[in-house]
Structure formats: C-alpha cells, structure tokens
C-alpha cells in the first residue's frame, strides 16, 4: 500500500498516544492532529488535542492551518484560553507536548535558542519556548520535516529543555522523514528506534550528528490499512497524502 512520508510520520506518532492522552500542539499541526485522529479511530477514542494558542480542545477544523494561532483553530469542543492552557500544562493535566527544535542532542536536550556561543551566536533561533513545559509534561514528542545533521548534534549549544529525564521519562519519540529516534531502554541516551522503508542505516547516520547503533536499524512498521483508512477518512488527515515536507 502506498503512503506518504507525512502519513507515516502521523501514524508513528499516533501509536505513541494512549487512551485518554491530552496532547498539546500548535504550529504545523497537520501531522500531530492527524496522529490524534488515527489514535481515536484505532481504539483510543478519548485521545484529546489542545491548540495551545487558544486552549481549543479537539478543534473542529476541516483543514489544519499551518499557523498555530490561525482563527480556524478556534471552534472546538471546548475553548478556554492561552493562559489557562499554560496552567493546565504546568499542573500536569496534559500528557504530551509536540514540538520541533533547532538542535537535539544524544542526551535528549532540546534547543531552539542559539547555535554557537550564546552571547554572540552563529545562528540566533526564536527562543527557549516551551522549556518549562517540556520539563513538566510527562511526555514530549518531537517532529522534524527534515532529518538534518545540524539538528541532531552531539551536544546542544544551549539547553532549552532537558527533554529526556531520569528513568527515560520525558522525551519519548522523535520522528523525521527518514527515521524514528527515541530513548534507549535504560533512558540514558537517544538512539535509533527504526528507519523508514526506503532508507538505510548509513543514510540516517550520515544525516545524524551523533553516533547511532546499527544493531537497532529495524524498519519502521508501515501504516496498517486501518490506520490509513482513519487518516484518509477525514479532510485534514487526507491532506497528508500530498503534503510536502521541509
């Protein structure tokens, strides 16, 4: 069965969602909202999505806008507001936060602030957004539309958040167009989880700035018929079939 990279990424994330999860998302949420869609259709009907900018729970949008603060995200089952949604995340009423990043390192640290020296950076990024939230939420999902060696580094230049916490808690999964990364069993570091069909270990290693363990190079389980049907049964899930990444 044919599927797009975006569809595969959504399905990978969907499998990490557990019944009752509350997932916070925002910018470029096509993939994350679709992941919730698949999870709900595949036996976890109580998975919930919050759009952070509005506090919209389960937005009723037809097509997911790129901007996390687009007005299309306002209608939903319940809408609260930005500040109470921040509070809900700190309080631990949400389970999963979905983010991107400038850099992620093998210790699971996430950086969106600077590349290079902090006081005179080579690249100044947008900020440290979400750091205390990553530190408070039980689980973090990271997703990237490119698998870039500048993103996956040995050691971040700035600690936006310690994504991976003691005992392997915190950062749970990183999905890219080439592979799935995540904490190893004892939670001590980030390594390969699987490689998407069509790529091999050398290709992934070449685009990853820290050493991966080749023995972990299994193939990402492709979307099942049920998963694809769930995706394609909804307008925004359907849009992933033709989504261009990166």
């Amino acid at each position: 069965m044919n599927y797009s990279v975006a569809e595969l990424m959504a399905v990978v994330l969907s499998r990490r969602l557990r019944e009752g999860d509350v997932m916070v998302t925002g910018t470029n949420a096509g993939i994350t909202c679709s992941a919730a869609l698949v999870a709900r259709a595949c036996g976890r009907p109580r998975v919930r999505t919050i759009i952070g900018a509005f506090g919209t729970v389960d937005p009723t949008v037809e097509l997911v806008p790129a901007s996390g603060a687009d007005q299309s995200f306002l209608p939903g089952r319940v809408v609260t507001d930005l500040i109470s949604t921040l509070g809900d995340q700190v309080r631990g009423l949400a389970d999963v936060i979905c983010l991107g990043g400038l850099q992620v390192d093998r210790d699971g640290r996430v950086n969106l602030a600077v590349v290079g020296d902090y006081s005179r950076p080579d690249l100044r990024g947008p900020g440290t957004i979400g750091v205390s939230l990553i530190a408070r939420l039980e689980r973090t999902f990271l997703y990237f539309t490119e698998h870039d060696p500048r993103t996956f580094v040995e050691r971040v230049d700035f600690v936006g958040a310690q994504g991976l916490r003691p005992g392997g808690r915190g950062l749970e999964v990183i999905v890219t167009p080439m592979a799935v990364l995540g904490p190893v069993e004892d939670g001590s570091r980030i390594d390969l989880v699987s490689i998407h069909a069509g790529f091999d270990f050398e290709q992934v290693q070449a685009r990853t700035g820290f050493a991966l363990d080749p023995s972990r190079a299994v193939v990402t389980e492709p979307p099942s018929e049920e998963e694809l049907a769930a995706l394609r049964g909804h307008p925004y899930g359907m849009s992933l079939a033709t989504m261009t990444l990166g």
Partner: protein
C-alpha cells in the same frame, strides 16, 4: 486608578504616549492581531525602545522594529516568523550583537505577564525548574534580570521566581470598541488582556467603533484598563485581524525573503512604511488585500 479611554489619532498615540527608551509590549501572537499600525508609526517617528516585549510569540512586528534599529533590548519567549521561518532582522541583530536578548521560557513569560497584570511583583515558576547541569547555557542561568532563586519558605527547597512584566506602554490590536472604551476580540485574545493591564499605559488600535460591543466578541478588555485608542481599519495587516481578515501570505512571504539582507529590509521599509498609514495602505494595496482576505466569523 480606573482609566478613561481617550480617542486619538494614530500619530498622536505614539507622539504623546510613547516616551523614548520605554519598555514597550506588543500584543497579538505570531502574525495574528499584531498592532502593526502602531509599530509602523513608531518607526516613522523613530521612537527608540529601551526594551521590547513581544507578547509570548513575537513576529514581524518585533522584527520590523529591530530592523529599524530602534530596539536596545528584547525580552523573548519566541521571536520568529513561525511558518515563514526565523525572524531575519532579529537574527541578524542578535548575531551581530546590536540587540541585547533577554531569553525567557514560555510558561515563565506567561506567568510574569499575568503577575504584572494582577499587580504582583513576581511569580513562582513550576517546581523543579532550575538551570541546566554541566554549565551549558540555559534559562534561567543566562537571564539574571528576570529569574532569581529563593528558598521556598514552605518546604525549604530551592525554587525559582520570575519577575513580573510591567511595560511602560502596551500596544494592542483588537476588532471592536464601544463608546466607553471597552474593547472586544472577535477571535483569539492570546495574552492581550494581561499585557494591556500589566502596562502603565495601554494604547489600543481598533478596526471599528460600535455603540455597544457586538456579541461576536469572544473576550473583552474593560475600558478602565485603556488609556487611548485609535481607529485604524486594516491596522493589523500584513497579519490577520481575527474575524475580520486573514493574514496576507504574499506580503509576509515577501517580507521574510527581503528582510534576509540589510538592503532587502531597507527596500521593504522604503516601499512600505512611508510617512503615514495612508502611504502604507497605498503601497500594500491594503483595501484590495483586506477584501481578498476577508475572514468569515470565528467559530
């Protein structure tokens, strides 16, 4: 003290109420409900900003002011063009060291603004929020202005506080205002109500006046928190004004492209800012764009 909102012209709002070297807060989120007319007017009048505080997710509003060389320091949780990439002028200035950056994390920024709005001097951060180990730079280690450690007097544990944000001036965009200065947001209001109240002076730019606030308002800012307002149709362009018009993808894309270089930015500035909003309207074909981008009612 309860404020009485004064109706003023855009030019006068900036000339009379924004002191040079003030702390200036910008409302909206990403490229939605940004106070762009006020931002352009700050650039026209070349008002230097001591510290710029774009509310939680800053965008082209902050980037323009930084590009114009008016900003000494910027306090950010996020400053970028979201789906259009990094904020090019912020990036260039931060990399060149010509703007000082005060990094805050998102929850802390929200808490600091809410504390400022509620008249409190600081806020507690979540337990467990501490500088990163191993001496790598991190918030709060790089921002000693806003973050301080105390001993939690209830538990004896180390705990971080963040200083309240209380700008001298807040610049807010909204869709509706009534005869009593009460403001209404048709769509998202983000942290605008908190920002408005946190500031010593609150200036609102509004799409339209109404006798009474329409029921389409999803959130309201009481007039007793507003010092002055100006009516500027299309004042949030090229961003969206929720419930009135959507963001201008073509314009924003062009800005993101041009602003990558100094001369590109100067070209944008020369073409667009002009000497008045009327010139901006002509250069940006504002009326056509607003019509083309008309947004349905929210929700």
């Amino acid at each position: 003290m309860g404020k009485i909102a004064r109706r003023m012209e855009l030019e006068a709002c900036v000339a009379e109420l924004v002191e040079p070297d003030s702390v200036v807060g910008l409302g909206g989120l990403h490229f939605h409900n940004m106070p762009m007319a006020l931002v352009r007017e700050l650039i026209r009048q070349e008002v230097p900003v001591g510290r710029l505080v774009p509310s939680i997710d800053g965008s082209i509003d902050a980037d323009l002011l930084i590009g114009a060389g008016l900003v000494r320091e910027v306090q950010v949780a996020y400053l970028g063009l979201e789906t259009y990439g990094l904020a090019p002028r912020f990036r260039a200035a931060a990399e060149a060291g010509t703007v000082r950056v005060r990094d805050c994390e998102e929850a802390g920024f929200g808490l600091a603004l809410a504390a400022g709005a509620a008249g409190l001097p600081f806020a507690a951060l979540p337990a467990g929020f501490m500088p990163a180990d191993e001496g790598l730079p991190s918030v709060p280690a790089v921002n000693r202005d806003d973050y301080r450690e105390i001993e939690n007097p209830f538990t004896g544990e180390r705990h971080m506080l963040i200083q309240a944000i209380n700008p001298d001036v807040a610049l807010i965009h909204c869709q509706a205002i009534d005869a009593h200065g009460n403001c209404g947001f048709f769509g998202g209001s983000f942290l605008d109500v908190e920002l408005a109240k946190s500031a010593r002076i609150c200036i609102v730019q509004v799409e339209r006046e109404y006798e009474e606030l329409p029921s389409a308002c999803r959130r309201r800012l009481p007039g007793y928190a507003v010092d002055a307002y100006c009516v500027v149709e299309g004042g949030a362009h090229p961003g969206s004004s929720h419930g009135v018009y959507r963001h201008d993808d073509v314009h924003l894309r062009r800005y993101a492209q041009l602003a990558r270089s100094d001369h590109g930015f100067e070209r944008y500035r020369g073409e667009m800012i002009g000497v008045s909003e009327a010139e901006y309207a002509a250069a940006s074909r504002l009326d056509d764009r607003i019509e083309a981008l008309e947004a349905g009612p929210v929700g």
